[in-house]
Symmetry: C2
Subunit: 318 residues, 2 copies
């Protein structure tokens, strides 16, 4: 499986990236970087560091957006979750390499064209780079094999506020662009990742396992576990990004629901992923009788704006 990982490393990003190198079926063709857990330049630095630590300095890194789509705002850097350095304040050494010089979106489009339908994308941060790629080449929807998005909260609370999960909240407009792009998208949200608990004892076992990356992963996890303890009251962590990779490799381990998704870009629900589960043929307002509304297209208040468009094959984990 040829894979680009779009990432904001990030402690759980590190788990996912290193797990990808330990997965025999995965060929990582590049990392692209984005803001979120850390600012983008630091994400790039950490991506290079992780590659070099894994002995994979040959894998290209393409730096991506420094802020959200259109307005460029860098909204929310989760330093209190991942540390000032994104690696749990362990101060990793400066990497030797440097990014490839292409912008992330450009790199993604290039790989999609080059790999002729064989490119998979694992999106582990805000979706700005993917949205830029969609705008750069809307035909990318037919060129990418599958996108696995880590993000959203469908039938559960978010983690930024009750309606929004952090990656989607990081760039709601970009997420809306991606979810309505027509790409083959699978999404793993908090509904799934909050069910996965990695107790501190398991992370200690990882350290003691003699595995290649066990000691390193243990070293960066203490800060992350401290955060989880503060907000959940348990010494454990949710390895969100690693779960997303597992979902890409082993979708059979998950239950999936199919439907259209829109993202709220402002108001109380800013960053919320709203999915139409498709049970009802909806009518809206007095102008639209049920018989007039198509079974798979639902108009929304205000008209002309966002649409819950069920025509696109968007598949999501809920």
């Amino acid at each position: 499986m040829k894979l680009v990982i779009d990432t904001d490393p990030g402690i759980d990003d590190a788990y996912a990236i290193l797990l990808a190198f330990k997965s025999l079926e995965v060929e990582v063709v590049g990392l692209t970087t984005v803001f979120g857990n850390v600012p983008t330049p630091l994400a790039t630095r950490n991506a290079l560091f992780l590659l070099e630590m894994a002995g994979r300095g040959d894998v290209p890194v393409a730096e991506g957006a420094h802020g959200q789509l259109d307005d460029g705002e860098e909204k929310r850097i989760a330093h209190w979750v991942h540390g000032e350095d994104g690696m749990g304040n362990t101060n990793p050494p400066e990497p030797q390499g440097s990014p490839c010089g292409k912008r992330a979106a450009e790199f993604i489009v290039e790989q999609a064209n080059k790999l002729k339908g064989e490119l998979n994308i694992l999106a582990l941060g805000p979706l700005t780079n993917l949205a830029e790629a969609v705008r750069l080449d809307p035909a990318i929807k037919d060129k990418v094999k599958r996108v696995l998005v880590l993000g959203g909260a469908f039938k559960t609370n978010g983690n930024v506020h009750p309606a929004a999960e952090a990656n989607i909240y990081g760039d709601p407009l970009a997420a809306d662009v991606v979810f309505s792009s027509g790409m083959e998208i699978y999404t793993v949200g908090l509904d799934a990742t909050h069910l996965c608990v990695m107790p501190e004892g398991d992370i200690n076992s990882l350290r003691d396992s003699m595995g290649e990356f066990g000691s390193f992963l243990h070293s960066i996890s203490g800060f992350y576990i401290d955060f989880h303890f503060k907000v959940w009251g348990q010494r454990m962590m949710h390895p969100h990004d690693a779960i997303a990779l597992v979902a890409l490799l082993r979708p059979d381990l998950f239950e999936w629901r199919e439907g259209a998704v829109c993202v709220a870009t402002d108001g109380l629900c800013k960053g919320m992923t709203v999915m139409d589960y498709g049970g009802k043929k909806m009518a809206w307002g007095e102008q639209m009788e049920p018989e007039e509304s198509g079974p798979r297209g639902v108009g929304l208040p205000g008209g002309g704006g966002s649409q819950y468009n069920q025509d696109e094959a968007v598949r999501l984990r809920v």
Copy 2:
């Protein structure tokens, strides 16, 4: 149980109102009317008609708001669900009585004061009248025993659009006012009512049952079943409003979750009920470290606006 029913009759409202008269423990102290299934004057007319048909012309009817809180807009009259007359196009006779002359909110406040903590309110339409009552007398929160709201969609799609249920969508601001009022509120949303299916055969059995209201209820249900068939593909109905009365009388038949609720008043999620299930101590933005955020108060983007305030004891069915 002393009960005011706030209602927009409405076919399922008729089920709930007549069921209340057949419930030995219920003493209906009045009906208040609101727009929703029908415009408010027609809701008043239908309320009077139903009382007289039930031989209970002694029960007062107080007409309520003709449009939503503050802007007075009458947004959405569901004639395609309940018929032009709200009674499935059966053209009920003109009632003899007339409303009591008090505005609904005024009547509710008056009853709350008079009944000294014994008043229950069953809210079967948009929450405009209750919100007006809260504004008229904010101390009503300590005077009303319990409010049972029929409305919202928590872990399921709405019925107006994927994020919003019709009663809440009918006046989102009023709903937000009510949910943050501090009243003892139980809410039955589509999560519960869409699980309750009354097949056409059961409604035919009701007609044949020799019960006092069976034939009437059957007569108004045909139109409603036709609507359900159009949008759900089955000849059945969801008796939403009657389920809400059952939940008030027999809360033990339901599972309840407790938490704070806010309502989105605009944007993609307009009319959405967002509940904080309380699992996480949340932090928002760079300014707020987890240790600084109180465990039960969560600030939202934009600040100074709506708050997910968990301090109020709001209980909801999800």
